[in-house]
Amino acid sequence: MLDFVSTRRGVLKTGGALFVTFTLVDKVLPALAQGSARKKTVSLDEVDGFLSVGVDGQITVYSGKVDLGTGVRTAFTQIVAEELEVPIDRVNLIQGDTALTPDQGPTWGSISIQIGGMQIRKAAATARKALVEMAAERLGVPPNELRIENGAIKSSGKSVSCADLVGGRTFSLKVDKDAPVKDPASYTVVGKSVPRLDIPPKATGQFMYMQDFRVGGMLHGRVVRPLAIGAKLENVDESSVKDVPGLVKVVRDGNFLGVVATTEWDAIQAARRLKATWSKWEGLPERAHLWEHVRATKINSDEVTANVGNSAKALSDASKRISASYDFAIHTHGSIGPSCAVVEINDGKITCWSASQATHRLRKQLAAMMAISPDDIRCLYIEGSGCYGRNGHEDAAGDAALLSRAVGGRPVRVQWMRADEHGWDPKGAPVLIDLRAGVDREGRTIAWESEFFLPDSFGPVPLVAAILADLPGMTEQLPKFVVRNTAVPYTFPNIRTVAHMLNETPLRWSWMRSPGRLESTFANECFVDELAASVSADPLDFRLKHLGDPRGVELLQRLAVLTKWEKRTSPRKDAKGDVVAGRGISYVQYDLVRTYVGAVAEIEVDRRTGEIRVERFLVVHDCGQIINPDGVTNQIEGNIIQTVSRTLKEEVLFDRSAVTSLHWATYPILTFPEVPDVIIELIDRPNEKPWGAGEPAATIVPSAISNAVFDALGVRLRSVPFTPAKVLAAIEGD
């Protein structure tokens, strides 16, 4: 049997059917086919916003929060299955479709379960109550004699199914904040390590990622970015690509340049061969003087995040003062699969498929850029490669929109090449922190002061396409979440912590796991260690002594047991040889109001080469009620390993014109032989609120490693990444 396949459009075949079938969106399309897209409410206070029951009793959950490869789909399914007492395979989840799902805000900050999941739980609890009331009426049995079980409401002898009660119809009911939720003691699904629903198709090549999504008649686009970030497009030589067979169009809009072709390979070839001339631009600061540049950047406002007593006076009264500056390099998101989107425009209406973490916001951004009403745009989420913040997905959608418009609205798929991703995804901010503390004659810490240089948050990250084509963007005040761990959980008598909100960052900035809190916790937890060492205290004892919060104290005590913590001061006294082992501790309460994490890093550092090997991370984690323990463990492992990579290796390189670390050889990340073991103890509190897991565990990594290096060698690493060169310089300078 022989199949002929053409890379041009259309498929030739003989001798039997092609063996590959291709489905569009598995669960989204049926909803569209029913024509429900236009009518369905997306209101946040309507049960129908979040839930529907099909005529077959199948429950559909409409989630504005999306699964970024973190298991949220499974966790939400568990939550609804639990409240409505149905097996999990009776629950479908539709995510991030602006026509169908409520705007629950972007999927960020590890708050999907804490906020989004709880909105869904309340909607399910309201539905449950309503179903029981309807059944009571239908069956003529008082509600308190009814129970809900396997998709039906039952009393002894009588029963009516949820499908019979509301199947195919709406609840038309406000979400009742007081609707009783199930008692955690009776949970059968929540709190269990239900296997992830997406892993079997992912392991067998059946899962459809955004990068796999295709629509009929689709063309392929590629972008051609300026050689310098602010360069002007001076000339395009279209004859340079006239030999590319499938070329449809070279698209130019201001400084936005792209190509559209019938096949992906043709688009890639055209983008590579297209000759364009750009003006010179050298507006980036010199990398060697990055920190002077950050320090000199205009400050929009100061956020005072803690002000206790009189820290200035206490500092001047102190018998011993210590101070230090910490810095954290610019990082790239570095998803393994580059950003991708498909846009089509039909009768002035835009449909956009992307892996955006914020489809509702993307809709507004596209509306501003394309100068049409948001009502004429529908953005649908399809899971892409791992997403750790606002990466390039929205930008790819902006690119696809401009390219589609240029070819009469035909659907255009844009996938970034590796250099587009490394060069043009929005970056983490370079963060600088100054710390000062004072100790009195008795060795008590009497003053703590800190200043953070953090990016101000004006609104959504502007789309690259809008910047290059000089098209309108949108503004929206975003919460200043970057400041939330600048204050400390410790009870010093005089504290002043201030965040200087900077007007700009050298490269286009976005939030990346875990913005502001990662850098703040790095500096704070290292400096606490410096303080402990300065008064010859055991670093764990020192933290316990200054911690008022019993949940934090319990966590640290459990960490001491888990790690068999030996009480002593750092640095260790018995360091011998070239390769020295060290231990470092760190602690955080995320945003100072939620998830608690404590960790000990065990490392080895080679004084000849400056190389650090992280051997093990031991973590104790309290995120309140746990929905799926294995899901939480998976998130913690991932966040620790990713942040070890960022701490040891990662730094975006740039010259005065553009980013120069355009692939994995110039922006290396951790590889298998370098990966530490991660040992985790979860504290489950079924009767408490569920808080987020994931990002909180990232924040303790750099400080734990730095403190471990201090324990080993007695030198402080205050600049991420901890490259061998910096370790050697620290040893030298000691």
């Binding site: 892993i199 067998t204 991932g638």
Partner: protein, 155 residues
Amino acid sequence: MPTSVSLEVNGRAIVVIVDDPGMPLLYALRDSLELKGPRFGCGLGQCGTCAVLLDGEPVLSCETPLTKVVNRKVVTLEGLGTPEKPSRVQQAFIDEQAAQCGYCLNGMIMQATALLAKTQNPTVPQIKKALTGNLCRCGTHLRIIRAVQRAARSA
């Protein structure tokens, strides 16, 4: 000039008609055959996510031009097993819940399959070495190592 290239993919004879026989195999698999296993990650041979087996050996399909695969046998992730009947290695990845986003999984499973074909009971350092060229940004490494160990045990 359109050229035709004959090869075998997942046990099936295929002729790809293509303008540029220098086109990497990856695009024929993804765009012409609409396979979803092999994935584009870097196109530079740096991440391993595009791996397929070529006559049983793992190769990076983003760097393998069609001219190099004429009349040869290609096996992709789909060719190893299905959700209903996963291969031993695929089953082990499912059992260990060895994925976050799972975008890197194709490369990991192809590479592990090739490793286990040669080394029945690899040590952890051997597994790590075999997977050195496969990047995972989500930090799923520990689960992936456990999955390879489990697959070895289940042989």
